[in-house]
């Protein structure tokens, strides 16, 4: 019931916001209220969530398209609960940012943002393959317009690139979904069994690789992350790639054990390549968003390491790092937006010396940077460590690449920090623009606070992601389902 509520509240709020002819302020307020109500529901639900249970929780099932064995079936396991939580928190921060930035045409804007949040929550809680696909596609509808209408100067090109790439992936996945579901006679994930068909597997793989993105499917990343409004990029980089994480964890690993084993080496090599390539490009980018975009891509490569290690450490690490990366990159993109709105540019060459007189901004950038470079003691370090320890069991070479990438992460994170905060003041940062104000801090600090809590207690996520804290047996246990 709660799951359905979590999906429906933003969708209904989207329609209400869109239809009611309220003033700009009240529209934004209503949207934020809905987003916060969603956070409240999630926190309230967490209190009664039994993370050790092997049962799906808050599940709901309704007949929908029984001729094809498709039903509306939602429910949550631990790792899904964290992903849903990530969506809701980042979504609320993004909506808050939209309110602060005063987006034009607020009714359409906030309606679409809420629609996006609702479809992402639905995606992470779906227990039916087709329902998953429905939400996977449905989130493109708001994203297309959010990027295309409220984005930067090259927004139209960005939407075309983004949609071409993602639709290419998702339509391949549709073919796989049909082939898999029809040949099994049901789309219910709990009953669908396993397949050893490489082609079906590859359809899913490509779709999720595009979404992540993993080399060589990353062509959409740069322009989309740069041209989208910052708060949309926050969701796009922090939450949307987690659809791929969820898809791998809950569809590919349990239902394609054979192909996963066969293609493991290929996937791990691609992940390693993504990690190194992303990190190197992040180091070379001339603007804030470029750095964060490619760093985000690199982190997805790392998460892919954890998933395709397919062992307890790797899977736990992948879930933890998904949450970390989501919060860090969302926070960073929001801050990037705040800096851009002050300096009028995101180009590093025209920034610099922003630390002076802006202690709050400097602290936030510093803290997020430190999380990005995964300083020991941070939750990112915990996540990366678990992932690398997991992938080490599959081959020391992968772990070595991963360790090298941590050094690269330090390079690009420190470069970013010093380029923004230190050095000579350049044209973009000369003006006397203010420090972060209360409203902005209220958007970013919660994300930082959650990261701090996770740093102190990473086991909050890792031990509560899979029943009995046994990811491998839980995930492979799905194979034996009737």
């Amino acid at each position: 019931m709660l799951t359905t509520l979590l999906i429906v509240v933003p969708l209904v709020a989207a329609i209400v916001v869109w239809i009611l002819p309220l003033s700009n302020e009240s529209t934004a307020g209503l949207a934020l209220l809905a987003a916060l109500a969603e956070v409240g529901l999630w926190v309230g639900g967490a209190r009664n969530f039994d993370f050790s249970s092997q049962e799906q929780q808050y599940s709901a099932t309704r007949e929908w398209f029984s001729d094809l064995g498709i039903s509306y079936s939602v429910g949550l396991y631990g790792f899904q609960y964290w992903l849903v939580g990530l969506t809701i928190v980042v979504g609320a921060a993004a909506i808050g940012y939209g309110m602060w930035a005063g987006r034009e045409r607020p009714r359409a804007y906030f309606g679409l943002m809420l629609f996006l949040v609702g479809s992402l929550v639905g995606l992470f809680s779906s227990q039916d393959l087709l329902l998953f696909y429905v939400f996977f596609e449905a989130m493109l509808i708001p994203l297309y317009l959010l990027v295309g209408v409220w984005g930067g100067p090259q927004r139209v090109k960005a939407t075309i690139t983004f949609v071409l790439y993602t639709m290419f992936g998702s339509l391949l996945m549709l073919a796989s979904v049909i082939a898999f579901g029809i040949s099994q006679g049901t789309f219910e994930l709990a009953e669908i069994g396993t397949s050893s068909n490489d082609w079906i597997f590859l359809g899913f793989l490509v779709a999720f690789f595009v979404k992540s993105p993993i080399l060589p499917f990353h062509g959409w990343l740069r322009i989309t992350y740069t041209e989208a409004p910052p708060e949309v990029t926050a969701i796009l980089s922090g939450v949307v790639p987690k659809a791929a994480v969820f898809g791998f964890l809950w569809i590919v690993l349990p239902h394609f054990p054979g192909p996963v084993a066969d293609f493991r080496a290929l996937v791990l090599v691609l992940a390693a390549a993504t990690l190194v390539y992303g990190s190197l490009l992040a180091f070379r980018q001339p603007d804030i968003r470029g750095v964060i975009a490619y760093s985000s891509m690199a982190q997805m490569g790392l998460i892919m390491f954890g998933i395709f290690a397919v062992n307890d450490l790797g899977l736990d690490g992948a879930v933890l790092h998904s949450v970390n990366h989501g919060l860090v990159s969302a926070g960073f993109f929001l801050v990037a937006g705040m800096i851009e709105s002050r300096a009028g540019t995101g180009e590093l060459a025209r920034l610099g010396g922003m630390a002076k007189g802006r202690p709050a901004l400097a602290s936030v950038v510093m803290i997020l940077g430190i999380f990005t470079l995964a300083v020991p003691g941070s939750t990112n370090f915990a996540g990366e460590f678990a992932v690398l320890a997991g992938v080490f069991q599959r081959g020391w070479g992968y772990a070595a690449v991963g360790a090298a990438a941590i050094v690269l992460a330090a390079m690009y994170a420190l470069r970013l920090i010093s380029a923004i905060l230190h050095g000579r003041r350049a044209s973009g940062s000369e003006d006397t623009s203010a420090d972060l104000v209360g409203g902005e801090l209220a958007l970013v600090l919660p994300l930082v606070a959650i990261l701090a809590v996770l740093s102190a207690w990473p086991a909050l996520v890792t031990e509560r992601s899979f029943p009995l804290d046994q990811p491998t047996s839980f995930i492979s246990g799905q194979e034996q389902a009737p």
Partner: protein
């Protein structure tokens, strides 16, 4: 006393209601005082469509088993009845769209022809002999030829009428030739009689079948028999285009399905390949050509060619699921197509010139309701989730996958990917460019034309069906399955 055969008036009632409405509207054109002609004939036609839909509903309810009537000239069954319901509802929506199209002359004739052609379509979906099929095909086609050319002051309209007449007659000729060959080979006219009389591999018979299929493919506007579609759709008055894109497709596809599975089941191996080839050709040509279009009506014409491809895939499956998916697919397809043409009609009336991608710009912000409508219709035609178009495609693909033709699924999916290019082009035009400065004197100084409540109702109905058929798919599929059950599959 001459023995007359028993006539099942109920089975004929949906047709008769429309013919009656047509006759009254035609009389009204002469007898009713001129200022009232429009209101009178539109109202009569609308009533005719409602009555026809209700009668078709009664037929659907009372015909759980198919009955062959009048030495197999027609069949009373749920397939025909469901198609008739859909056709009558399309007609009703088209009346709503037509109401304020500013037509001054031939108003009575317009509505009379509209319901007359709908009557022919309602009849053809129940026809079950070569003769009645051809008769009904000509019946609705001739009405459509005139409707296309009815804007006598516009060259494009005349051109559309003439082109449709010539190419349509050519198609009908092929169809008739095919009928003659099949009749010559079997000596039978009724569909099921033909099946029983089949002389195995008679080349005459197979040629006849191929020609019948080609003739029907003209009406379905499946490639390579689609050449008339873009010009006619573009030139015809927009409500007529909406009617053709929706209703003709339904009628022609249902009759194609019926004749293929009833009369030629023995040759299924031949015709399912032929239909698959037509489907692939339509998907490729329709989608590629649509991408290049700038005129929205023309683009939608090619889009309808590509949808003919998807729908033919369902026929090629030659299975119960295939027939069911065809009937289900038609519902969101028709809603989205007619709705899209309604939005185009609204924009056209506002601008006073043909709607192109560039002058669609900003519609989404200027007319939020029409914009959202167009957005929903495009998403449905592109097969996005949360619209019936998605489930329709899914259902068709799963039917053909189960029939063992996995490569058609791949082609269908690729075609869907291509189609995004032009459907999303329209969405982009709606929302992502600044609206042009109000063009021409048509737009009143106040900014916007008077609200067209009836047209808005039509768009709203389109939205409701498009989205509703996603959420309430199972009841609709149940209906479609009942209807498909009346075929010998």
């Amino acid at each position: 006393m001459i023995d007359t055969p028993h006539v099942d008036w109920l089975a004929l009632s949906p047709t008769i209601a429309l013919l009656g409405a047509s006759a009254i509207a035609l009389l009204g054109a002469v007898l009713v005082p001129r200022p009232a002609v429009r209101a009178f004939s539109a109202a009569i036609t609308a009533i005719g469509f409602v009555v026809s839909a209700v009668f078709a509903g009664v037929v659907f309810d009372r015909s759980p088993d198919p009955t062959v009537l009048l030495s197999e000239t027609m069949t009373r069954d749920q397939l025909g009845a469901l198609a008739a319901i859909i056709l009558a509802l399309i007609g009703l929506v088209v009346v709503l769209v037509s109401w304020s199209d500013g037509r001054r002359d031939h108003v009575g004739e317009y509505y009379a022809l509209l319901s007359a052609s709908a009557a022919g379509m309602v009849f053809i979906v129940s026809a079950s002999s070569l003769l009645t099929m051809f008769l009904a095909l000509e019946w609705f086609s001739i009405a459509l030829y005139i409707l296309c050319a009815l804007d006598t002051h516009r060259r494009e309209s005349l051109e559309a009428g003439l082109k449709y007449l010539i190419i349509g007659s050519f198609g009908s000729g092929i169809l008739l030739f095919g009928c003659a060959l099949v009749y010559g080979s079997t000596g039978e006219l009724g569909f099921s009689a033909i099946r029983e009389a089949t002389g195995a591999d008679d080349p005459l018979f197979v040629t006849g079948m191929a020609m019948i299929l080609s003739g029907l493919a003209f009406k379905v506007s499946a490639a390579p028999f689609h050449m008339w579609t873009p010009d006619v759709y573009q030139g015809a008055p927009t409500p007529v285009t909406a009617f053709m894109a929706g209703a003709t497709k339904v009628a022609a596809l249902v009759v194609t399905l019926r004749i293929l599975v009833t009369a030629f089941p023995e040759q299924a191996e031949i015709w399912s390949v032929a239909v698959a080839v037509l489907a692939v050709a339509s998907l490729v040509i329709g989608n590629l050509a649509a991408i290049a279009q700038r005129d929205v009506k023309r683009m939608l014409a090619y889009s309808s060619v590509s949808h003919a491809g998807f729908l033919l895939i369902a026929i090629a499956a030659n299975s119960d699921d295939g027939a069911t998916s065809l009937l289900y697919y038609l519902i969101p397809y028709v809603a989205a197509t007619v709705g899209a043409f309604a939005v185009v009609a609204a924009r056209e009336r506002e601008l006073g010139k043909p709607v192109s991608l560039s002058n669609l710009a900003g519609l989404g912000w200027e007319r939020p309701f029409l914009g959202v409508g167009m957005w929903v219709f495009m998403l449905s035609l592109a097969g996005f989730p949360l619209t019936g178009g998605f489930l329709g495609k899914l259902f068709v693909f799963s039917a053909i996958y189960e029939a063992g033709w996995w490569w058609l699924v791949v082609i269908g999916v690729l075609a869907t990917a291509l189609s995004l290019a032009y459907y999303l082009n329209i969405v982009r035009a709606l929302y992502m460019r600044p609206g042009e400065v109000a063009p021409g004197p048509v737009v009143a100084a106040g900014g916007s034309p008077p609200r067209d409540v009836l047209l808005d109702t039509a768009v709203a109905a389109g939205i409701v069906v498009t989205i509703g058929s996603f959420f309430f798919v199972q009841p609709l599929v149940d209906l479609a399955r009942d209807a498909a059950a009346s075929l010998p599959l």
